[in-house]
Amino acid sequence: MPMSLESTLLFSDTLPGGATWSHVLKRGTALRITDVEGGANVAAYFLNFDNRSERFNLPDTLKAQHTARLREGHVLFSDMGRVLCSITEDTVGWHDPIAGISNASLMEKKYGKTTYQQCRNEWYQNAREGFLIELGKYGMGPRDLHATVNFFSKVVVDDLGGMQYVSGNSPAGSYVELRAEMNVLVLLNTSPHPLDDAPQYAPKPVELSVSRVPMPMRDDRCRTLCPENARGFVLTELYFL
């Protein structure tokens, strides 16, 4: 059921391409990320803000939901069996959870070297450095950056295990909405996907909006997607008793 009729917009902003952003998304609020121009990539990482040793666990997320792609109805599990965020709305249908993030040497190899001295804020940024700096602002570092996901990007796996980046996955205006089931430290980075086959560095901006939304009901789509998700919601509710 769409939440938009009952939700209250609290905040919105534009995040340029190649940038990093973080926010403590409170339980009961949702973050909508909109791919304004089409072709955006948004790397994302999540931690329980109230206990930062609890964080997004990619394998637990994939195996609980028997999936190697993320879409509406899926949830993002922490290592403690709880739900950090639910994907309550999604117009894309395939978000990449397996290919990871760009780093400085990968970017230089693909697009060439830039420095701030030469290029000022047009310099080429990468997701790993952006995430590490952002984690540093919360007193964390490289040990705290685990596997991440890429919203709006698609990587398919063939029968032999080969990975193929699929361009054109996200048309202009695509959006995904993440409902926080805990107080979640969300980190986003808009650098190009590490497998993006475009020859030029051309990261796309996204629009971010945070809204207050109703708590999930018993028949919530994400909760009822599979028995694993239902148990994840029970464990999350236990945490808040």
Binding site: S53, L58, L62, A64, G141, P142, H146, L160, G161, M163
Partner: protein, 222 residues
């Protein structure tokens, strides 16, 4: 059916167990932590067949520089690990390279089982069953050096079969391994290895019967 697909990656080693520097047997449900030096050869033997060996590697001089599943599979363009796979660290270093593999396919997307994930995946009553992340925590706490849960990232599951379909479905299947199959790696730098020999009883990753594995180590000069 699938065997034919990865026979090209099957490769035996010339090293014989008699010349090994060390030989350890790790029982199911036990952690095993050991340093491997640059140039040394590490072999993990699936003694009884169908046994998942959950494994993490670290740069021995800097544990914040550690095995990265996502960087490893992206760099080789394939989600399965086998002969020729370079195990990459978060800082882009080659930690080890797989130089022989008589199994043919190893997983690095399925992660390690935990009390908490068992509750999600199977039933809330499964909390007290033994799990890999219990062993990982026990192993790194005994190793000391300040390691903590923050150092437990996405691991390798040697001998485990987690196929992904072109439609993006991920499943745990019966193992493709058999008794005596092994995987062998050459360390490209000094690394710390942290193993949990998987105790999982709720899915086919160990054929519902977790069994011991053997760790063999050869010096670089053999």
């Amino acid at each position: 059916m699938e065997t034919a697909n990865f026979t090209s990656s099957l490769k035996s080693s010339l090293l014989t167990p008699e010349t090994a520097l060390h030989s350890f047997v790790v029982e199911a449900g036990e952690p095993f932590v050991f340093e491997i030096l640059e140039g040394q050869y590490l072999r993990i033997v699936d003694l009884k067949g169908n046994q998942a060996v959950d494994t993490l590697f670290y740069n021995a001089k800097d544990y914040t520089d550690r095995y990265s599943a996502q960087d490893t599979i992206r760099a080789q363009g394939n989600i399965y690990l086998t002969t020729g796979t370079k195990l990459l660290s978060t800082e882009g270093h080659v930690l080890l390279e797989i130089v022989a593999d008589t199994c043919g396919r190893h997983d690095t997307l399925g992660g390690a089982c935990a009390a908490e994930s068992n509750m999600v995946r199977y039933d809330l009553s499964k909390r007290s069953m033994h799990a890999c992340r219990q062993s990982f925590l026990k192993g790194i706490q005994a190793w000391k050096h300040g390691m903590s849960k923050s150092d437990l990232t996405s691991n390798i599951n040697f001998f485990m079969n987690v196929p992904v379909t072109p439609e993006g479905k991920l499943t745990f299947e019966d193992g493709v391994s058999e008794a005596g199959k092994y995987v062998e790696m050459r360390a490209a730098m000094d690394v710390l290895m942290v193993i949990s020999n998987c105790p999982q009883l709720n899915n086919p990753c160990n054929g519902y019967d977790p069994t011991p594995v053997q760790i063999l180590l050869w010096d670089k000069h053999v």
